[in-house]
Amino acid sequence: MNTSMPRSLVAFAAVVYIFLVGPLIIVIGAALSDTSYLTFPPQGLTFRWFENIFEISAFRRTIVTSMQLAFLATGLALLVGIPAAYALNRHRIQLPSWLSTVFVLPILVPEIVLGFSLLKSVAVGASLPIFLSLLIGHTLIVLPYCVRVISASLSSFDFSIEEAAISLGSRPAKTFFTIVLPNVRSGVIAAFILAFITSINDVSTSLFLTGPGISTLPIQILAHVEQFFDPTIASVSVLLMVLTVAVMAIVERTLGLTFLTK
C-alpha cells in the first residue's frame, strides 16, 4: 500500500462511492414505504408492494418470459459460442484473423440498431413469432461474452494435454468433454453469468421486438413507470437487485470477483 495517497483524493473517492451506492439504497427504502407514492426515507414499513408485483399479471408474465429468454439465449449462445471459442484457439492457423471480430460485432453495432433491424428483417420480414425474434436478439447480444470469456480461458489452456489424450486413444469428442471443458469450467461459468445478466437487463434490443402479449420485464417496467408512480416498481427493482446479489455470490464462490476487472 502506498501510504502517500493524498487525503483529498481518498475523500473524493468516498464521495463517488456514496454517489454510486446511495441511489440503490434509496430504491430499497422506497420499496418498503407504506405510502402509495414513492418516497424516501420510507414512511412505515410494508412488504405489500412486493405482493403487488405478483398481483399484476403483466409482471407475472414478463418475469417468466425474461427468465425463459435469459436461460434459452444463454444456453444457445454457449452451444454455438464454445465450439467457436475452441476453434479460435485450437485452429487459429486455419482461420482468418477477422473471424474473432465477427463474434464481437453484436457489441460494436449499437443494440438499438440491432433491435430495429431484427424487427424489420426477422419479425416483420420473415414474420417469425415474437418470442423467437426476441430469442434471436438476446442470443446475439450475449454471444460476444460467451466467445470472448471462454476464448480467454482457452488461451491459457495447454493443448498438448488434449493431444496426449488423443494419442493415447481417446476419441476427439470424448477428449473435449473430459479434458478440455473441465479445464475451462470457470470461464464457462463466468460467460454464463455475464450473458444471463445481460439478457435479463436488456432494454434496447427487446424494445422493438416485444409485441402484443409478449414483453420482457425491463420493457414492462418502463411501460409501468410511465403510467404509475407507486412503489411497485421500486420493489421489482429490489427483486432484480436480489437476483444480482445471488449472481455475484456465485461468481465470488467460483472465481473471485476480481476477475471482473481483468
Binding site: 481518498v10 454510486l20 433491424s117 444480482t244
Partner: protein, 275 residues
C-alpha cells in the same frame, strides 16, 4: 472430419448466426436509406434539413461528451484510490462498483426519478434546509439525463481503469518516488501517461453507450430532451416511418463505429508500453 476444415466447421454455427441475424439485417437497414427511390441521399437531406432532428443530434452529442468527460474524471481518480487500496478494502470497493454495473439500466435510471422528482428526495431536502422555497423542476432537463448517465457509466469506468492501473508495475512508481517526485508529480507524469490507453478505452465505451442509449433519456429526459435513441424509437414505432428510423440508425452506426476505430488507433499509437 477432415482436419483442414475442423476449425471452420466448429466456428460455423456462430458465424452463421451473426451473419444471418446481424450482418444481413443491419446491412439491409443501412441499404434502405440509399434506395428508397427519392434519390440516393434524400433521407439524409431530410434529416439534416429538419431543425428539430439536428437539435436532437447535437443534444445527443453534447450529453454523451459531457457524460464521458465527467465519468472519466470521477472514474480515473476513484480507480486510482481503489487500485492502491489494501487487499480486503480493495475487493469491497470493487464489489461496490460491480453491483451497480450488474443492476439493470432501467432500475438505475428509475432511482433518479425518485431523487430528482418534484416530490423527490433532493427537492424535499433542499426545501427542508431552506435553500429553496418551492420544489424545482429538475426532471426532464439535459442536466438530469447527464447525471443519470454519469451514474450509469462511472462503475464501468472505474472497473476498466482499476485493471489498467493495477498493471502499472509498482517498481515504476517507486522509482519515480525515489528519484524525488512528489506523489502529485508521479501521478501526473508517470501514472497518467501510462493510463492513457485505458482512459481511451473507457471513454469509447462510455461515449458509444451514452450515444445509443434509450432507457435513460426516455425516463429522465422525456419528450423534451429527446436523444437519438428515443428519436429513432419514435420514428419507427410511433410514426411507422421506417426509412427515417433507418436513417437515424445509420447515422448512429457511422458515428459510433468511427469513434471506436479512430480512438483504438489513437490508443495504440499513444501506448508508451509498446514504443
Amino acid at each position: 472430419m477432415p482436419k483442414r476444415f475442423a476449425g471452420w466447421i466448429l466456428a460455423f454455427p456462430a458465424t452463421v448466426l451473426v451473419a444471418l441475424f446481424l450482418i444481413v439485417p443491419v446491412t439491409l437497414t443501412i441499404a434502405t436509406t440509399f434506395g428508397d427511390g427519392s434519390g440516393p441521399v434524400a433521407p439524409y437531406l431530410d434529416f439534416f434539413n429538419s431543425g428539430f432532428r439536428r437539435t436532437v443530434l447535437w443534444r445527443t452529442l453534447e450529453v454523451s461528451l459531457a457524460t464521458t468527460a465527467i465519468s472519466l474524471l470521477l472514474g480515473f481518480l476513484t480507480a486510482y484510490v481503489v487500485s492502491r487500496a489494501p487487499g480486503r478494502l480493495k475487493s469491497i470497493l470493487i464489489i461496490a462498483a460491480v453491483f451497480p454495473l450488474l443492476t439493470g439500466v432501467v432500475v438505475r435510471s428509475f432511482a433518479w426519478l425518485i431523487i430528482l422528482g418534484k416530490n423527490g428526495i433532493l427537492n424535499n431536502f433542499l426545501t427542508w434546509i431552506g435553500v429553496i422555497g418551492e420544489p424545482l423542476s429538475m426532471l426532464y432537463t439535459e442536466g438530469s439525463v447527464i447525471v443519470a448517465m454519469v451514474y450509469l457509466f462511472t462503475p464501468l469506468m472505474i472497473l476498466t481503469l482499476v485493471g489498467v492501473l493495477e498493471n502499472i508495475p509498482d517498481d515504476v512508481i517507486q522509482a519515480s518516488a525515489s528519484l524525488g517526485a512528489t506523489p502529485v508529480a508521479t501521478f501526473r507524469q508517470v501514472i497518467f501517461p501510462l493510463a492513457v490507453p485505458g482512459l481511451i478505452v473507457g471513454a469509447v465505451l462510455v461515449f458509444t453507450g451514452s450515444f445509443t442509449s434509450y432507457a435513460t433519456p426516455q425516463l429522465l429526459g422525456g419528450e423534451r430532451q429527446m436523444m437519438m435513441g428515443t428519436l429513432m424509437y419514435q420514428a419507427a414505432m410511433v410514426n411507422f416511418d421506417w426509412v427515417s428510423a433507418s436513417t437515424i440508425a445509420t447515422i448512429m452506426v457511422v458515428i459510433t463505429v468511427s469513434v471506436v476505430l479512430a480512438m483504438t488507433r489513437i490508443a495504440k499509437r499513444l501506448n508508451p508500453m509498446t514504443t
